[in-house]
Amino acid sequence: MLGKAFAPQDSCNPVPMSAFRQSVEAMIPALRRYARALARDADIADDLVQDTLVRALRSERLFLGGDVRSWLYTILTNLNKNRRRSLARRPQFMPLLDNNPDASGTEAEGRDIARALSTLVEEQRSVLLLVMLEGLSYREVADIQGVPIGTVMSRLARARAHVKASLEGERTALRRVK
């Protein structure tokens, strides 16, 4: 859908944004949503998006066409994986308050789903969000994670079972305590 019509010059002044940049820009809101759900913390999430954009823009000339959307999700997913690897064995960070005032939905349910997501292993959370929140196809997610479709499907099935159990467990636990 992009063709190869990238502006040859790298100048930035009043030159109209290239088709590439426009398609990157159009993806920012969706990338922020994905990152927010993936990383929970709004600041960390925007850091991830920022790093993703910087990398994408830097590689503009190396981008040979194809699906910008999948490509951006791939960069973000990989950056998050690296981040988590570097955090391994350190205390797990969570925002105290979900420091973004999401207006919609009942708050408690929002917290429940966020908590349930945080208990998933990385690859499962990413599959679940890419499919259920971002609406990507199994094929696209397989390419993003660099695994066969069968692996995507089994990760998705496990993630759904885990989140379902976590949501149900939480509700019963709360009922018992209060």
């Binding site: 809101p29 960390i44 850091d47 954009l53 960070f93 998705l156 379902k164």
Partner: protein, 257 residues
């Protein structure tokens, strides 16, 4: 052609929900669900899960994009970013590993705070189990404790009054940390529940309050005026921990006056 009698698999149920099922099989699955209430309930729960996710996260889409994420800005100042060459970045991206996150520039502040929380939690674990020697200076010598720790640490160390939270000052001690001296104070409730407050010099001038947990220990921590504070507990629930942290925070805020 598909056979209505071929049982529907788990994979097909997922594919059905995700619109990945071949059109000619959808009818079969729907017929199957009509006669298999357990599967129908599962499918329904996945749809509800998707609704929950959208309810929770779709509002992000409508938020104004922060300035730092504006394309024009990022394109205009690419050299500010501390990354390797494009080739290295791409290679990292393609193999999905390696460089990058650790090489991040100034925005990597959380790691310094992470070391801090490790120290705060370790100190907590080490001393809360002490029955006879939990502290160097007992809470009965509160003003001496404050003066001594303030002098040795180099910032104003106050032992906050936490009686409203049901906590009494046990006392405090001076500790070493990677950033120089650190102060450590312990509080106890009538039932023996112990909280500790750890402060050290901070790399960040000020941060919002954050939560970290490791094992049974959890902490709320923040930086203010170049000093980082952690309130640590063992097994306290979030409500209780934030009650105590809030009380500490409020009193630290007023320390200047």
């Amino acid at each position: 052609m598909t056979d209505r009698n071929i049982p529907v698999t788990e994979d097909e149920l997922h594919a059905y929900v995700d619109n990945e099922l071949p059109a000619e099989r959808r009818g079969d699955v729907e017929a199957w669900l009509a006669s298999h209430p357990d599967d129908a309930a599962r499918v329904q729960s996945w749809q509800a899960m998707a609704d929950l996710l959208h309810t929770r996260y779709d509002s992000v889409i409508d938020e104004a994009v922060p300035k730092r994420l504006e394309i024009e800005r990022l394109v205009r100042q690419p050299r500010k970013w501390v990354y390797g060459a494009v080739a290295a970045t791409l290679a990292a991206f393609i193999v999905g590993g390696g460089v990058g996150w650790l090489a991040r520039g100034a925005t990597a502040a959380p790691s310094a705070l992470q070391n801090f929380t490790v120290h705060a939690i370790e100190a907590h674990r080490l001393y809360v189990v002490e029955v006879r020697h939990p502290v160097e200076v007992p809470g009965s010598e509160r003003s001496h404790l404050q003066q001594w720790l303030t002098k040795r640490c180099g910032w104003i160390v106050r032992a906050p009054e936490l009686t409203n939270a049901g906590l009494k000052l046990v006392g405090g001690r001076l500790l070493p940390s990677s950033a120089g001296p650190a102060s450590f104070m312990m509080y106890e409730s009538a039932s023996g529940e112990r909280f500790t407050i750890y402060t050290a010099k901070s790399a960040a001038e000020a941060t919002q309050m954050r939560f970290a947990a490791e094992g049974k220990e959890s902490t709320l921590f923040w930086a203010d005026d170049g000093v980082v504070y952690a309130v640590v507990s063992t097994g306290a629930d979030r409500g209780r921990l934030s009650q105590v942290a809030q009380a500490v925070y409020d009193q630290m805020e007023k320390k200047g006056g």
